[in-house]
């Protein structure tokens, strides 16, 4: 992705949370991906020779390959609400025309 697009991507992520948190997460996400990108395993277009993966680390493309794909029904997973009550994702999705699910944590 060109530097200009990358910069706008970072800026877009930066808008999603409060500024201090988002800048931290933006830097974290960028550096994390940078670190894993160094191994030549994050882009099919990367012309550098493949480097050995540090043991115990899975690059994002390898992880994303296991994720539900476009056109696929989302797995029948149950999570909980903020009171600990079960919430089935498919049932949740049925409540509205579209449902956005974003995964995250404090770190």
């Amino acid at each position: 992705m060109p530097a200009a697009s990358r910069a706008s991507y970072m800026s877009a992520i930066a808008m999603s949370y409060d500024r201090r948190m988002c800048l931290r997460r933006t830097a974290l996400a960028a550096l994390t991906f940078l670190g894993l990108a160094l191994l030549g395993l994050t882009s099919a277009a990367d012309a550098q020779p493949e480097r050995k993966m540090p043991p115990g680390l899975e690059p994002p493309p390898m992880r994303f390959a296991k994720a539900p794909e476009l056109g696929q029904v989302f797995p029948n997973v149950t999570v909980v609400d903020d009171q600990g009550q079960p919430v089935n994702i498919r049932s949740l999705a049925a409540e509205k025309p579209y449902t956005v699910l974003t995964l995250g944590c404090l770190t």
Partner: protein
């Protein structure tokens, strides 16, 4: 995300954050929750810090959602009302999400700008004196191991939580250097009482597995109280998948000074990689941190992830 939600909620789109296992333990001194109740405490903390109106859900303690999406830390999916994935990306991207939704339900003009919002900015929880006890460096390449806290009938919370990491030899062959760090959970607002016995641990290993040392006592600082981790390095010679029993003793005192109690707690430490947590990010006493990816070489190359909706490629 907040601006996207404000613009598209009226167009039949609902938004949820799903709280997952910590991607980078120790960043801002947060430690991984051991129970669903503690994970929901994290959700409450996330609400406090982010001030977002987006509804929070949480993954179960078996991390079913995290596993189902390939264990990516910040992925995003858009589902239709039949649960079909109509857009997805490896990293959340509000700008790209807005484009997806514009395609699905129509654009919203003018789009709400984040500058229009009055999102509160809350810092991390303050704790008592940090930087009192020198940190033990993580051994090279160390990554989180599977641990299982032994919840007792007394229901005393794990005020101090074990974080176990192992060098590659440990999680690949059961041999190498083990890091045992006992980190006070900032959500309980407790500190170490240094006027009583210091933190101590003991390890019981299965037959045929050697652990050196088998026990240890933490430093005993002059300061009457602090909240620094108590850390130890242990050499282990066993086999992948072996399980060590770790017992820790400490005194926990709450920052409001309403209690100070002796605590004895136990864990199973598995000589196996915990794939639901990535590398830890050490936060210094002044709040600063830096990313050091275990085992990654230095380079000036860079690449970027993409997103996928409709027919776009996803990287």
């Amino acid at each position: 995300m907040e601006t996207v939600k404000l613009d598209y909620a009226a167009k039949g789109v609902q938004f949820f954050y799903i709280y997952k296992p910590l991607a980078h333990p120790e960043l801002d001194n947060y430690v991984s929750p051991f129970t669903l109740e503690e994970r929901l405490m994290h959700v409450a903390e996330a609400k406090r810090r982010l001030g977002s109106s987006v509804t929070w859900l949480a993954d179960t303690m078996s991390n079913d959602y995290h596993e189902a999406v390939g264990r990516l830390p910040n992925c995003e999916f858009v589902l239709d009302d039949e649960g079909v994935v109509v857009a997805r990306r490896a990293w959340s991207n509000p700008g790209a999400l807005r484009e997806d939704l514009a395609e699905l339900v129509g654009a919203v003009e003018p789009a709400t700008d984040v500058a229009d919002l009055d999102l509160p900015q809350q810092g991390a929880i303050a704790t008592v004196a940090k930087g009192v006890v020198p940190r033990v460096p993580l051994p090279p390449g160390a990554l989180p191991l599977e641990i299982e806290p032994k919840v007792s009938d007394s229901k005393v919370p794990f005020y101090a939580k074990l974080r176990a990491e192992g060098t590659p030899g440990v999680f690949e062959e059961g041999k190498g250097t083990l890091y045992l760090g006992f980190h006070l959970d900032p959500l309980y607002e407790v500190h170490w009482n240094n006027d009583v016995d210091p933190v101590s641990f003991r390890i019981e290993a299965p037959e045929g597995v050697s652990v050196t040392p088998e026990s240890g006592v933490a430093v005993d600082p002059e300061e009457p109280a602090d909240a620094d981790p108590r850390e130890f390095l242990v050499e282990v010679d066993g086999a992948r998948g072996d399980v060590l029993d770790v017992q820790v003793n400490y005194f926990a005192c709450d920052d409001a000074l309403t209690f100070c109690i002796p605590v004895e707690q136990a864990y199973e430490v598995h000589l196996e990689r915990d794939w639901n947590h990535d590398w830890s990010i050490r936060t210094e006493a002044d709040g600063s941190w830096k990313i050091e990816i275990p085992g990654a070489p230095s380079s000036d190359d860079a690449d970027e992830d993409g997103d996928e909706a409709g027919g776009s490629d996803e990287g």
